[in-house]
Amino acid sequence: MHLYNLTLQRATGITHAVHGNFSGSKMQEILVSRGKSLELLRPDPNTGKVHTLLTVEVFGIVRSLMAFRLTGGTKDYIVVGSDSGRIVILEYISTKNIFEKVHQETFGKSGCRRIVPGQYLAIDPKGRAVMIGAIEKQKLVYILNRDAEARLTISSPLEAHKSNTLVYHTVGVDAGFENPMFACLEIDYEEADTDPTGEAAHKTQQTLTFYELDLGLNHVVRKYSEPLEEHANFLVSVPGGNDGPSGVLICSENYLTYKNLGDQHDIRCPIPRRRNDLDDPERGMIFVCSATHKTKSMFFFLAQTEQGDIFKITLETDEDMVTEIKLKYFDTVPVASAMCVMKTGFLFVASEFGNHYLYQIAHLGDDDDEPEFSSAMPLEEGDTFFFAPRPLRNLVLVDELDSLSPILACQVADLANEDTPQLYMLCGRGPRSSVRVLRHGLEVSEMAVSELPGNPNAVWTVKRRVDEEYDAYIIVSFVNATLVLSIGETVEEVTDSGFLGTTPTLSCSALGEDALVQVYPDGIRHIRADKRVNEWKTPGKKTIVKCAVNQRQVVIALTGGELVYFEMDPTGQLNEYTERKEMPSEAVCMALANVPAGEQRSRFLAVGLADNTVRIISLDPLDCLSPLSMQALPAAAESLCIVEMGAGETGGEGEPGTTGSLYLNIGLQNGVLLRTVLDQVTGDLADTRTRYLGSRPVKLFRIRMQGSEAVLAMSSRSWLSYYYQNRFHLTPLSYESLEYASGFSSEQCPEGVVAISTNTLRILALEKLGAVFNQVSFPVDYTPRKFVIHQESAHLIITETEHNAYTEDTKKQRRIQMAEEMQEAAGEEEQELAREMAEAFLNEDLPESVFSAPKAGPGMWASVIRVLDPVEGRTEQLIKLDQNEAALSIALVKFANQADNQQFVVVGVAKELQLNPRQVGGGFLYTYKVNADCTHLELVHKTPVDEVPSAIAPFQGRILVGVGRMLRLYDMGRKKLLRKCENKHIPNLIVNIQAMGRRIFVSDVQESLYMVRYKRQENQLIIFADDTHPRWITIATVLDFDTVATADKFGNIAVIRLTGNVTDDVDEDPTGNKALWDRGLLNGAAQKAGIVANFHVGEICMSLQRATLIPGGSESLVYTTLSGTVGVLVPFTSHEDQDFFQHLEMHMRSENPPLCGRDHLSFRSYYYPVKNVLDGDLCEQFNSIDIAKQKSIADDLDRTPSEVSKKLEDIRTRYAF
């Protein structure tokens, strides 16, 4: 078996985010790392929408990311610290839309190691040096400079190592143009390590150490080190030089401290806390992330606590000496892993879990009534300030970026009966969790819907003048009339447009500078700007059947297959070409390309004829109306569309991008879309791609999407074909079926579509280009862990379990208790006030999804069981479990000894579970009876067990339960579930049970799979085989009777198989009747499973399922990861394919080494050597590499580049999207 890895949706969680002028223009971009890919985002300052410019898979783990700018430069570079043992400096080339590796310096072994740098990066704010540090001991400093041609240079590394030192954070101190300085949070463990009494370990203090790079001596010195009172977690650099006092802010538990070298005293300020918080008041509070905003005149910091509250921090100075730290509550947003304040006044919040947000900073919070806390205010040690959290006041939400991360479980099923299966996912963590339903398709936002008098046939939009930004008219054609609507504040009917209203329209368009043209069955109407009208009438009894129009040309086909060509001359007159062209049969469709910029005409006309051919006809004056090429079709053409696609982004300063090529799209009557390359010189047709779109004939419409041309194809479903990030996308729209459409542009909707559907006119916008899935999200209370699907009613039964949390009841009790305390604490006179406050406190309702849930402490659990209708998003039933009950497993079962078709849900619940060290106060198996339409669960009984019931699976009319390390078989009893059989030979903890036939595949938390057989005659569960590798399994799924696919917590997917000579007919061995020499090594099973495939995904997979993603497609193995990736492993069906991709992968590895310097082969073999899996993500990068390289690789494969990309597209569309 050979598999091919395809990513359907890249990771959506963000681990790092930095901002800067990467493109070198005035625009600021945000560069985010999504674990193993880099993505460049640009918030549009006008609309506030965040667009993705570029996404690159780096095949390595990005551990740190920084932007820097050389002194006096205008462009920011990117430094990447990764697991490659190399420092990499990248530059974004906006004209080619790629990242270019400027420097790559090797310093150590690859992998995430303790003493190999890569974990921390610090940049000198003046861009003169970069420090790259390891967690322990090693730090290297590279000097950055420019050479004579202003190219960036990098020095050889200078060492700043100190052994026996652990590092927590490093930051570049702004020392102006003095020697570059770096501050590190360190701890020296040497003494603690050698002291056997352990006393030293308690006494060891964290230190703040300054390293100075002496540019004169070319040498790094450890300049100054100072022990810290509190344990700190991160540092913020304070602007220096002319901009501020320099120094660092140390964020530690409960305190924020300012320190600087020299005479500066430490300034210390407690971190304010929420008033009347349900959290444990003894628990420390820390800042988790910060963002600095600096202008010429001022600077401030935004720092976020672990509850999500953002504080604005300012420093009061007196002649460059800081006298006071001031803190002011700013707003509360979800806890972020990184924040960026942009020059345009946006705050980008990359959330730790769930969706990311872009906020507009509406106020700086300078002049409001919010109290300001200062380090100068006298406070007792241990005391702090209090504030009241409130809804957003200073920030305004402008955009939300969907993020699935973390995906905890996923199942592919068609519960909504849509014939394309949906992906049901459990996402998020804590109160921000959700159940999401993903459908393949582009999200469509409906801007307007209006009813029309009757069913229209067609719709167009035209501009009044060519240089106008927005469309002026919508023209709607009916069977016997044409309606003209003008676009303004509102859309209303006009009669003075010059269009003929008493006839249906075949086509209309703006012509030349400021004229319009209307083609109707009996003629052509040319409307000049001054409302003069020129009419051309059809000769004799002929009528116009088809036409094609662009900005300067009109071609019509008369009945009988005669073509007449008109072209606009420089005076604006529409002139008929002297000859007409007789075609061999009736024209069924026609298309003209847009007139290329700076040219007089489009040189090609495409005509689809009734004899199942498409012909390209030249419109060049030299050989006008002479045929150039022809393509035969499998069915009659319905519609044609010529577009120019594949053009690179035009740069911000108007430099031209790369030019694309012309594509002829042919929609056939049998529902197939063909895309063919139209040679811009010869008019030859080549490289045809085919895709079935739906059951109805395909109609094609040219529209504009993000500044380039795209094709809207309409069959029984509507599709958008567009070129995005070096790849062609053909994505269905998640919208009802449409009949006719046209591009639409107005002030409210700059890039939209106007479409007709039955008797309505709709204005639609397609915003999330590049997204494969559109999603519907339903919020849930706690982190959803597992779910089962009740197939008959299409309901989901979900277990939600939260650690470190209170249940609703406990929260209510605590609130009442606190309110009482409040009243008691108040004096006589304040009673009234206290009661009011208590009341207000009890009624306070801040959504936990924003303000975070109170943390109850370790070992405190809250759980619910939810019955959800995923189509409507309705919760049918919510069963709340008691405080400290953790629902960990669930299964839907039919018991053999119960009535037929009576289903039960068994939920495994652990009581008082402590995670570290692992302790449990027992557990229960809750058995619920499910009613027929799965709207109600009725508790039947509760079975106590002595360990954590961590996995449940139905098995031959009974259930298998993993209770700690015991595998047990339970049957339904009257008062509880009855234990019928047990196997105690699984070593640690059972995390997953899968059964097929008589075989049971049991996953251990750290010892991989055990194959177990149930012997009915002896009523025994016997391990007959196991795996040879110690995998830390997260999920396993059975592929066939002998084969299992597993994923582990280190990000590997493996397929293991029992070989042909393994038998499950073995005896158990407690009595020693199995041969000694037959017993495996170290008490393992005698028989071993073999490895079929191994692959390192790079992210932790939480679900694996064999599924068909497209109707009529083949099965593939779908996986989802904690970081939000959805991917598939597809099997190769032929050896030729496998051979081809193997070679392509090999060439890509050598020709296109990954961006961050990690070797691709070693990355994919991170834990186990990659076996029998080819990496489609690497192969698909073929489309984005240099044309010359493409050519040379394709030559080596004996193919052309387009054949290679066709193969890449084919394998993707055969299995997925």
Partner: protein, 276 residues
């Protein structure tokens, strides 16, 4: 890439013929003492370090070696110990459950594992009164087993064990009765590729119930019409299986008792009656 052939076809033929003759002339190697590996090589199953040989003749040479002989004596020693242990456990089980392991089934499973050093036949015993719905009556008869099967090591009757070398000698004498390896090897070579089909068939296997129903399968699959007796027997076997699966075991008197390791409903003192 191309390979240059050295030698001609005649040469190759001659060497093949030579090897074939060598194989035919090689001494008798029992089927269970060596194994044909998937890659076509052979390994000695007696030696614990599992040496690998390319040809039968190499294996034969190995078998004459000192190392092999010493391993063989160790092997026999182990085997005897285990046989004794097994018999003891069977006896113990018999005493507490009154059940006799179905030996026919055991022999079959043994064969499947390539482990045929144990029992190959089932003998009649008068002391077993139970019928497990099997056509053959399973028995436990230590003497019979040790006599009838060619296991020289098992001398449970007398406590004086023969010396190691004597054991080896005795064992070697009995070797010729076993199925020779050559035949297996030949068969494997002839039926190259058959294993695939077998592994595919496995999938069909899932639906088949566990082994005791093999008889049931027999009745079901055989074309002869099943008599009423068969139906009754099938029902009985079904019922017994159901009882066993829910944790009932037969004691020495043939009565159903609850397995102490299995949980039952509090009012479930008697095994449920068969449905008819």
């Amino acid at each position: 890439m191309s390979f240059k052939r050295d030698g001609d076809d005649l040469n190759l033929l001659r060497s093949l013929k030579h090897r074939r003759v060598c194989e035919l002339l090689s001494s008798h190697i029992p089927d269970d003492e060596a194994m044909l590996l998937k890659n076509g090589r052979l390994t000695c199953m007696i030696c614990t370090h599992r040496p690998i040989f390319d040809t039968l003749s190499m294996l034969a040479i190995h078998r004459k070696g000192k190392k092999h002989v010493s391993e063989l004596s160790k092997y026999l020693l182990h085997k005897r110990e285990l046989d004794t242990k097994k018999l003891k456990s069977e006896q113990r089980r018999y005493l507490c459950t009154g059940l006799v392991e179905s030996m026919g089934h055991r022999a079959l499973s043994g064969e499947a594992q390539g482990n045929k050093l144990l029992i190959t036949q089932v003998a009649y015993s008068s002391c077993s009164k139970q019928r497990l719905g099997l056509q053959r009556k399973p028995i436990l008869d230590i003497e019979n087993i040790s006599k009838e099967t060619e296991i020289p090591g098992v001398a449970t009757k007398n406590n004086v064990f023969p010396s190691a070398s004597a054991q080896v000698r005795q064992y070697l004498k009995g070797l010729w009765k076993k199925k020779p390896l050559e035949k297996t090897v030949e068969k494997c070579r002839e039926n190259y590729g058959e294993g695939w089909a077998k592994s595919l068939n496995n999938v069909v296997d899932i639906s088949l119930p566990d082994c005791p129903e093999s008889i049931l399968e027999d009745t079901a699959t055989s074309s002869r019409p099943c008599s009423e007796e068969d139906v009754a027997r099938k029902k009985k076997a079904d019922h017994e299986l159901k009882l066993k699966m829910s944790g009932w075991i037969k004691n020495a008197d043939g009565k159903w008792v609850q397995d102490p390791d299995v949980e039952f409903d509090s009012d479930e003192h008697e095994p449920p009656k068969s449905s008819d």
